[in-house]
Structure formats: C-alpha cells, structure tokens
Amino acid sequence: MITYELPGQHVIAAHLVLDLPLSAENRDREGVATICARTLDEGTRRHPGEAFAEQLETEGAGFGIDVSLAGLQTIIDVPASRLGIALQLFAEAVIEPEFAEADVRRHVQLRLAEIEQARANSAQTANVAFRAAVFDPTSRASRMNGGEPETLAGVTPQAVRGFHTAGFGPQGATLIMAGDFADDPVALAEAAFGGWRNPEQARAPQPPVGSAEQKSILVDRPGAVQADIRLGGFGIDRKDPRWADVTVASYAVGGAFLSRLNAVLREEKGYTYGVRMQFSPLRTGGSYAVQGSFRTEVAVDALAEGRTLMDIRNHPITANEVNDAVAFFTGVTPLRYAAADGVADQAATQVLADLGDDYVDRSLAALRAVTPESATAAYESLVDLDRLTLVVVGDADRLAEPLRTVGYSDLTVQDAMSQASGPALAGPAVQPTGPP
C-alpha cells in the first residue's frame, strides 16, 4: 500500500493495481478481463444490482477501471470526507461483485457495439491496425485489449466469474491513495481490504512482447477526406538505458510544437492539424510511431516528407534541441504531480511497469544526462528507416497506387471491416475548439 499526503487536494484518488496481465486471458476468450472489470460496479452481494452504483454516486464518488496489457486497475475518486464509506464500496466491487447473468451478457453486447463504432473511426482503426502490424502476431499486445468479436462470443458469465476468482486477490495487489486525508488512510484501507483472502488466486507471468515483420498496410475507407498515417516500428520500455535519450530525440523530431515534423508539415505546409512522433512503452518492449491525419490530396507527399524528416543521419540532434527537451520534461513534471489523480496515476504506472518508487527522480536525472550524441545514437539504433512499418487508413482508390509509386511496393490493402478498437465515441463533440 502506498499513500501520498497532499495538502489542499480535496478529492482523494485511490487506485487498486492488480498484477494481472491480459496474457492471463484464455486465448479463445480474450476480452474477459475487460468485461469482468466493466461489470464490477453493476452490483455486489451486499448491494445487488443498481443499488451499488446508487450508493456510490450518492456519496459523490466516481468509480473507474483501466485495463492495460500489464494489469488491471480499479479506481475511485471521492471527496476526502467520504473516503471511508467509499473505500468500503470500492472493496465490495473488487472482492464480491455480483456478476449477474444479464449484466455480463449486456456488457458483451455493448463491447461488440463499441467495436463497431471503433471500426467506423479512422484514428482508432489506425491504432488497432498498427499494433497488429508491429507486435509479434502471437502476442496479446498485437490484439485489442477489450477482445475481438470472435473471442467475446466465449465471454460468458461463468467465464467472467472464473477469471475473477483466479485473477483477483490480495497477492501482488497494490493500493495507492493520494490526497488531503481527513482520516488515517491506512486504517480506512485496513477496514475495507484487511479481510480480503482468495486461496484460489493464481498468479500469471508477465511475458515479454516480441516484434513482427516489417509491413505496409492500407486500410480502405472509401471516400474518406483524410488519411490517418502511422509510420514506425517496435520500440523499447522505460528500463532500457536508451529511454531518456530516445525521449529527447523523439521530442525534437516530433514531440515539440516546432519539432522537425510539425514545423514543416503543419506550420510550413498546412498539411495537418498536427503530427507527432512518440515512443509508447510497454512493461517490456514497446512501439514508436509518427502519426497524424492529413487531407487525402497531400497524404502521400506528407508521408514522403515525414519519412525524410525522420532521417537524422545527416542532421543529428542538436544541443539546443536537447536543452529544450530536457527543460520541457523537467518543467512539466511538478504540475503533473501536484494533483491527487496525477500522483496516483503515475504511482500506478510505476507499479504496472515494475519501475520502483524512485522512478520519477531517476528518470529526471537520466534526462539531465542526455547529450546530443547519446540522443542521436539512441534514435539511430532504434529507428531503422529501411524497416518502418506503415499503416494508412484512407481512401484506397486515391491512395494505393501513389503509395506504391513512392516506394511502398509491398503495400497490402485491407477492408475496414476486418479491423477495429478502443473506447467508443461519445455523443456530439462539444469540446472547445483549440489549436496545437
């Protein structure tokens, strides 16, 4: 258990992190972890059915879940004065969920509808196609976290209960709480979780993830006005000694507002609302990609230009670029950890990626040690321009031939309906409109 006392943070964030990787799912029932997590707050033995959520929301609490390859999190946010009762409810959802037949079946149906929505969404389709293209096809990482239609068919109430019994238990579980506590958080946690026992809990290993063969894929979206592009490959995790170096290098190439990529493709040419390059770490291994959405007319030009800008052989990372990147990452850190949810979220990430409690301090020290030479060398060791995997989601009639002409002769065209994932769209987009 880890607690962070943060004066003035009136909303407490509590994360229960389970060392339960998605690779623990039965291959034929992938999605069972997601359905299990989503059904936790649909009723408990003590508060069956809607009574649970009603009680929780009446206390002003919000319940959430996070399903990632390395493990599951259940999350509660609640004003400090109501933490005690909220933690009791939180523990009920984790330890003794009802898993009513109708609730499990409905969540499977809602997940299938969510997949349909994702398949209709260009960016989500690109993300799913990219992970499938870049990770070892036998690895769990290559497939959607929430399961595919074929595997969801096997996610029955019985399968969900079985997954919960084998996977949810106090061994390997970490409770993280952050905020301005009104009462002793350890005592409250003891009262809520102290009696948790599960003799049937089975621990699952965290298998490493491998890479796939390089490939070039165009997912057809007839008539699309833009093409979503992902160009990248297999990457590294945060424990790799090159992590700080490549964080700096990728910020210079495609992270900053005036990065090499965004300065040209957005600010000079107006091809896109924004393009970025990012390394996305897993617990072991990871991926990297340049990504952006470009109007169809210029997408192939943007891709060619982007690939050129990714090539730093004759344009190594400069001292100014290193200074700016280090100043940015060290500057945004204190704000990120000033609020309870940010602190708890980072602590959970560290548990899931097995990074240790002092990770933030170590990573800042590693950033400050980056030199132009080390950043350039790390980038060049990882970004192999001749073996980049390409995913384009767009209008194949207008894109396939031009892509082959500029060198992607291995391009295969897929139908959009064979692809999918991620969270479904919300309703009407009513966020403010902003620039970068």
Partner: protein, 433 residues
C-alpha cells in the same frame, strides 16, 4: 444525508484592474513551484459576423503566428522550452490562452502574452493566414468531417437556434466561411476585440498577489485601452416551439454503425438560478450510471448502447441542453425515441426523487473540486467566473449555491423550459456502406 456541501473552499483570490482596464486576478498556491498564466478574452463564436463563421477560432490560431518581437510559432516553442504546457481554445462565449510553467518563467509568459496583445498585426502576413486557414480546415476534417456523427452538433444547433442567432453556428464554422476570411477581417477582429479592457488575466500558483499584480502591470500596463465592442444580442429566446407551435425535427443519414436519436432544448442563460436547477435536472436525466436514461434505456430495456444528457451553459440569453441515445442492433429509432421521451416526460411530470437530487449535487461537488484541484484548471475557472459570470470569488461559494437548489425551483424551471414539449429532434439513420 446533509444539505451542505461536505467541503468548504477557501482559495485565496485577489483582483486588481490596471489603468487600461485589464482585470488581473491572483490566487497564490505554493504547493508546487509552478505558476499558471491564463487570459480570457470576452470574444467567441457568438461575436462572429454573418459569413465569417469559424473566425474567432481561426483568429486564435493567428495569435500563435508571431507579433512584433516574436517570430511565427515561437510563442509555443519558447514556452515549451521554459517547461510550459501551453494552449488556447475557442468556444461560443469566449477565447482563452494559457500556459503553466515553472515559476521562474512567469516573466517570459507575461511578456509573450503582452507582446501579441500589443502588436499582433505587426507580424500578420497573408502567408501566415493562409497556412493557419489550412491547419484549421485540417482540424475540421479530423475532428468533424472524418468522424462518424461528426455533423451532429452542427445539425442540432441549426434546429435549436435561428441561423442568424449568435448561437446559431458552431465554433469550427464552415469551409466556405473559412475560405472567405481575409487579412482585413483579421485586423478588424483584432482591433475590435483584443483590447486589455476586454480581457481577464489570471495568475495562479507559486507567486504572491502583490508580485503578480506588479508583473502584470510591468508587461500589460503600457498597452492602451480601446473602445469596447458592441455586445451581440442577448435577449432570451423562449423555449422551442412556443412561438409557432412547430417543433423542429430533422432526419439525416450516413454510413454509421448505429442509428441514433438526439433531442435538444433551449434553456435559460447560465447566470440564472433556473439554469442551476436545470443543470441538476439534466444530471438526473442523463449523467452517470444511475441516470434515468442509462438505467432505463441501456440497463433495463436494452434499447440503447449508450444514452446520456447534459447542459451546456452559455451567457447570451440562452443556454443549450441535449440528450441522446444510440440504438442497439435490431432496435428502431422510433422505439428509441419513444423510450427517451417517456423518461423526459416522467422526469418533467414528477421531478427528481429526493435521493436523485442529493446524488446529482454530490456528483457536482466532486467534479467541481476536481476542476479546482490543479492551478491550471483553477486559473481557467477563475477567468471564466470573472469574464462571464459574477466574479472570481464565486468559485469558493459555488458549491453552496448548487446545494441550496430546492426541489420546487427544479419543478418550476422544469415546467418553464423542460416539460413544455419545447424540444428539437434529430434522427440519425444508417446508410448501408
């Protein structure tokens, strides 16, 4: 069950007005060595001229294209190199610009903001305008045109307000109008709206108020005030259908995965007690897992894959409320609409239960506390309450106001605005792809 909010807020807030009319708000918080600089300009999509929809937002992009002493793109580049998170957004009622960074960068942030407020037009070129016009058109494609149901908000607004009404168009605007924008439009818009006396500067975080005011005066003090622009019309429009009796209704179709029903309402402006009452009512109708729409449509009847409702508070005479649901496979939009309306009608008829109201208030409390938890979003809320509402101090008493809303206020506001059949409906059908 208590009637008072569980949390008492005492954020320190001080306000001064510079000689040129710029309002400056300081709210110290030494919890982290960071400071939030946040500027609200009292200009948004509702101030746009006919034929120039989307202009306030396009203009916001131009604000990053350089000023007398700052090259194009360098505002963000310099801020990021000082460790800042930086951005801006445009909405119906306002435009905000903000950066949050280590305290040592405060002078640079203020200097950059003041330089563009003082001298944007010195750096304005056709090339910058053309480039950002393309960027904004890409934004429109990415966020609206290339997204399923991306046209819903535009269609709903068109059903809810007349086209010439300040709220009759979206902030992203139309491609046609974006294409039509000229350099002289940019210059005129800047002169009309971007004057210090039409803005609020909030400095929150690791700086004492006296220091914040002195620095604000150093950088913004020399800028001259200007004439304030005319206000757009703010006369409240009555609920939909109350003038002609016809309720707006439209159908559209596209290649989408599921059919959907959207309902919208004209509501009173957000500064009114009626709006607070309706905001809680919409929470009961469609916010969260225990809301009426989710419970009945998603959980019990299994008609919808998702269903919710919300209010969008606006200051110009009216606000806007909406509810929506997407149909499960095999459910017709007619069944879905009937089920939604049954929930609306029963809530209008009998009002929320005591426990539902308590729950809506408790959920409001958590969201409000969360909004104020970080100096960046706290600064933004201070600027919002100073620019659009009764003043920044209200953020400390807001929870008390919401908790004080009584059931009879809800039923009266509901009768006037919600339960009058005064709504617009958009039916979204599925084309076969």
């Amino acid at each position: 069950m208590s009637l008072a909010p569980a949390t008492l807020l005492r954020y320190p807030i001080e306000e001064q007005t510079l000689d040129n009319g710029l309002r400056v708000i300081a709210s110290p918080d030494h919890g982290a060595p960071s400071v939030a600089v946040n500027l609200w300009y009292n200009v948004g999509a509702r101030h746009e001229e006919p034929g120039r929809t989307g202009f306030a937002h396009l203009f916001e992009h131009i604000m990053f294209q350089g000023s007398a002493n700052v090259p194009s793109g360098q505002h963000i580049a310099l801020m990021q190199a000082a460790g800042a998170s930086v951005n801006a957004t445009t909405w119906f009622d306002r435009t905000n610009y903000f950066e949050t960074l280590p305290t040592g960068g405060l002078d640079l942030a203020l200097w950059l903001e003041a330089d563009r407020l003082g001298s944007l037009l010195d750096a304005l070129t056709q090339q910058n305008l053309d480039n950002q016009r393309e960027v904004v058109k890409e934004e429109k494609r990415q966020r609206y045109d290339n997204v399923p149901y991306g046209d819903v908000i535009e269609r709903l607004i068109a059903l809810t307000f007349p086209a010439e009404h300040p709220y009759g168009h979206t902030t992203i605007g139309s491609m046609e109008d974006l294409n039509a924008a000229t350099l002289s439009d940019v210059a005129a818009f800047f002169r009309r709206h971007y004057v210090p006396n039409n803005a609020v500067l909030t400095i929150a975080g690791d700086v004492e108020p006296a220091d914040a005011f002195a620095r604000a005066d150093t950088y913004f003090g020399p800028l001259p005030a200007g004439p304030l622009p005319d206000k757009p019309r703010e006369d409240p429009m009555p609920p939909l259908g109350s003038d002609s009796g016809d309720l707006p209704r439209a159908e559209t179709s596209a290649v989408v995965p599921a059919e959907a029903v959207y309902i919208s309402w004209r509501l009173p402006a957000r500064s009114t007690p009626d709006f607070d009452a309706l905001d809680l009512l919409f929470g009961v109708l469609g916010h969260g897992q225990t809301s009426r729409l989710h419970k009945r449509l998603v959980r019990e009847a299994e008609l919808a894959e998702t269903a919710s409702a919300a209010c969008m508070g606006l200051i110009g005479g009216n606000s806007y409320g909406f509810g929506y649901a997407r149909a499960r496979d095999g459910v017709t939009v007619e069944e879905l609409e009937a089920a939604m309306l049954a929930e609306v009608d029963s809530l209008a008829e009998a009002g929320p239960t005591e426990i539902e109201l308590l729950r809506a208030k408790a959920q409001y409390e958590r969201h409000w506390l969360h909004e104020l938890a970080r100096i960046d979003s706290r600064a933004d809320t201070l600027g919002e309450y100073a620019t659009l509402l009764g003043g920044p101090h209200l953020i400390n008493t807001r929870l008390g106001e919401v908790h004080a809303v009584e059931p009879d206020q809800i039923s009266s506001a509901s009768q006037d605005w919600f339960g009058v059949d005064g709504r617009a409906t958009l039916i979204y059908r599925k084309d076969q792809g």
